[in-house]
Amino acid sequence: MVLTADNPQQAGAREQELILNVQRGQHELFYELVRPYERRVYAAALAILRNEHDAEDAAQEAMLKALVNIRQFRAEARFSTWLIQITVNEALMRRRRERTVAMEALDNRTDDESEYAPRDFADWREIPSEALERKEVRQRLAEALGTLDRKYREVFMLRDMEHLNIQETAEALGITVASVKTRLLRARLMLRDLLAAGWEQGWFSRLPFEKGTKPW
């Protein structure tokens, strides 16, 4: 059986049941339990590590750790949040191991206090989600994200792509709620400018609609 989004209540109950069974020793069910989150787990690792190969390693290791420590999971927490938290910890640990402490400290020392002013005020509309069907568009968005400084990128990815809340993002990264908000604002505004530029360059044109019809 697959967890479906159609009936969240049923899916939640099924997840609880799976967790209990894995905790009781049916470890072969673990993949079924984590399958709905595997992309988020991978993306969480990528938010921190940037490199696809390292992110996959960290994601895999994090899920193995989750399996080994499944008995420590308490039902009060959301399983997805628990899993993402383990992943972020694993990724942060790997990053610390690989980078010099000095660089790390310098990079993450302070939030940029100067405010970010949006640059592009073109009159643009809602970009339809259908645009994401095109690999090229996803690629452009990923590239734009890649240009952000680490501290903005990781907050943005955990908050807006992993959908952790502000508090969870702060806890996962070991920074304050105020820092999360400051960095998130800046990340969103910077990406907005990059998107605006993309809008003008036609990233989002040639959408998969009927010839000659535009949805706006």
Binding site: G25, Y31, E38, L67, P118
Partner: protein
């Protein structure tokens, strides 16, 4: 405090992320709404920020490398197998561990009831001001520790070298012959201990020392 009635663009930008998240109070929201109606620039910033949040928040932005799921399943299956065998044998190794704990506990209890010292021999005198780092020799089954080369070392084939401190921690007591200088002079045997729980080896060892001393 920001006067919401007359917010300028910078003030709006500062709150725009919270606004999109619904993390602003009703008064601030109302003021921002008013501002967006009349300010094309800020309306553009809002539209763009919403696009960013919506597009990047889409599941389709989370792509995994080809073969990711298969590799994950494989490594999970491997771990599941290891974990499974580990847990199924859990009760099997629990038994001897519990037995060991019980035995160790009863030994400690016996010792605590029989004088409070974990000395291997009650016939010998505990060390007196012995240098803790002095290199000494002990052997299995014996109860005394010796200066290396002492002729009264039993079971030389099981000889071990360690420090006096370690030897004492293991319950060994100083040889009355080679380490006599660290014993209180004149007291080698306590009359009360005679024959109570001494075993043959202990008697033999002590006897030999006394015999040598007499020679």
């Amino acid at each position: 405090m920001v006067n919401h009635e007359t917010m300028n663009c910078e003030q709006v930008w500062r709150e725009i992320s919270n606004y999109v998240d619904g993390d602003v109070d009703a008064g601030l929201r109302a003021s921002m709404n008013e501002h967006f109606k009349t300010c094309a620039r800020c309306a553009s910033v809002l539209a763009g920020t919403k696009n960013v949040v919506r597009l990047y928040g889409d599941e389709r932005m989370l792509e995994v490398p080809a073969g990711f799921s298969q590799r994950l399943q494989k490594s999970l299956a491997k771990t599941a197998a290891v974990q499974g065998s580990r847990w199924s044998s859990w009760s099997a190794w629990l038994v001897p561990v519990a037995a060991l704990v019980l035995i160790a506990g009863s030994v400690l209890l016996t010792n605590s009831l029989t004088g409070g010292r974990l000395l291997k021999s009650h016939h010998a005198e505990p060390a007196n001001n012995i240098p803790p780092d002095l290199v000494v020799v002990v052997s299995d089954g014996a109860k005394l520790f010796h200066v290396p080369g002492c002729p009264f070392i039993h079971d030389k084939n099981t000889e071990r070298t360690l420090t006096a401190k370690e030897a004492m921690a293991e319950g060994y007591v100083p040889c009355t012959r080679c380490l006599r200088q660290y014993l209180k002079t004149g007291v080698t045997l306590r009359p009360g201990d005679q024959g109570d729980d001494a075993d043959a080896d202990d008697k033999a060892e002590q006897g030999e020392v006394v015999g040598m001393a007499a020679r």
